[in-house]
Symmetry: C2
Subunit: 216 residues, 2 copies
């Protein structure tokens, strides 16, 4: 407990916070591969982060790898998932039952970290009532009523660009405080809501920069 109190006082730098999910993700995958320890060098190869930076980052959490042995994967997962909060299950509301929504709902990686889609909503009457996996697609009109009862805090927007802002407004109205936006457009939300815009193009632009650097 003491450690986390300390963390709160001395806020972890933004850059470290940004890399934390990478590390956790990485540790979980390595555990699946049957590994028990990992060196900062190996972590560096996987994450493309400099090993010296990794050691510095991980030291913020009071974790020092043993020389020649590396970090204990199980211990790191336990610690990091506690810090992040993914050691408890987290429900998600998903808006949009198109290809992207279906891909997200059936994404193998979510459960590994304690996330699961609890409800899917769409505005297309032809989709409402159909199933994705075990979940029946609900009408978007029932969102607010649904979340009055369920009080889910995380929402994912997987709708076309033109519908993104309205969807965000509706999620906020329904009490969602974390929004992950997959639509390739900027949306605005009240200050109290944490918005994360994400799209594959950002990753592509990133790799493209390296592409150019190497003159491939």
């Amino acid at each position: 407990m003491k450690k986390y109190k300390k963390l709160k006082k001395n806020r972890i730098p933004q850059g470290v916070v940004d890399r934390l999910p990478n590390y956790l993700n990485c540790f979980v995958q390595l555990r699946e591969d049957g590994m028990e320890t990992v060196s900062s060098k190996k972590l560096g190869e996987i994450t493309n982060i400099n090993p010296a930076e990794i050691r510095r980052d991980l030291s913020y959490f009071g974790s020092y790898g043993k020389k020649g042995v590396g970090y204990n994967i199980e211990k790191m997962i336990k610690e990091f998932s506690h810090i992040v909060g993914s050691d408890r299950p987290h429900k998600i509301i998903l808006i949009g039952a198109g290809n992207l929504g279906t891909a997200i709902a059936s994404y193998e990686g979510l459960n590994k970290h304690g996330f699961y889609v609890a409800a899917i909503f769409d505005n297309n009457p032809k989709k409402v009532g159909k199933k994705i996996g075990k979940l029946k697609i609900k009408s978007i009109d029932s969102l607010i009523e649904y979340n009055k009862r369920n009080k889910i805090k995380i929402g994912i927007i997987a709708v076309p660009e033109s519908a993104a802002q309205n969807t965000a407004n509706l999620l906020v109205q329904a009490g969602v405080s974390i929004i992950l936006n997959y639509a390739p457009t900027l949306i605005s939300v009240p200050q109290k809501v944490h918005l994360h815009n994400t799209d594959p193009v950002k990753e592509l632009l990133h790799t493209l920069y390296y592409f150019r650097e190497r003159k491939l």
Copy 2:
């Protein structure tokens, strides 16, 4: 020209490179919204990056916003897309014609940045020959032959976890040098290949950290 030569000598710090796609993406969206200039404050609100950090980052590219006016959006797009290399069209090979693959192929955001999916491959005979948009799904068996002629350098993996490593091997064999992996598993590629692992869970873990910080 002089500016880019200089950039090559004084390498841009990794952190700045990591944020560059965010900026470019942001500028392109703002242009679509009809804006001509943008302040670092506004950019900060959109990207969740500290305005002071934004000004420092952008100054690496010789770009200083005018006080009270901000950055010229058109100019920044031109400059950044040139640096990144997205001012020329870039073809992509997409592997996997499931929900995720279909979502990526029909993603509105790709073309905005000069990326387009040139070919889609799948190993399911039932899918081969069917169409996603205007593209006919090709058999994975024809990938190497196809890319001997087309020499596409960017590949996206949108297959289930269990098939990801084999798919990566095949892409490398076909001459692809940038791989964007959407499967929630670690894959390894030769050093000369630039691999980017991406999945929605990373974003969720990131937001979850804020979630915890705010005790929502």
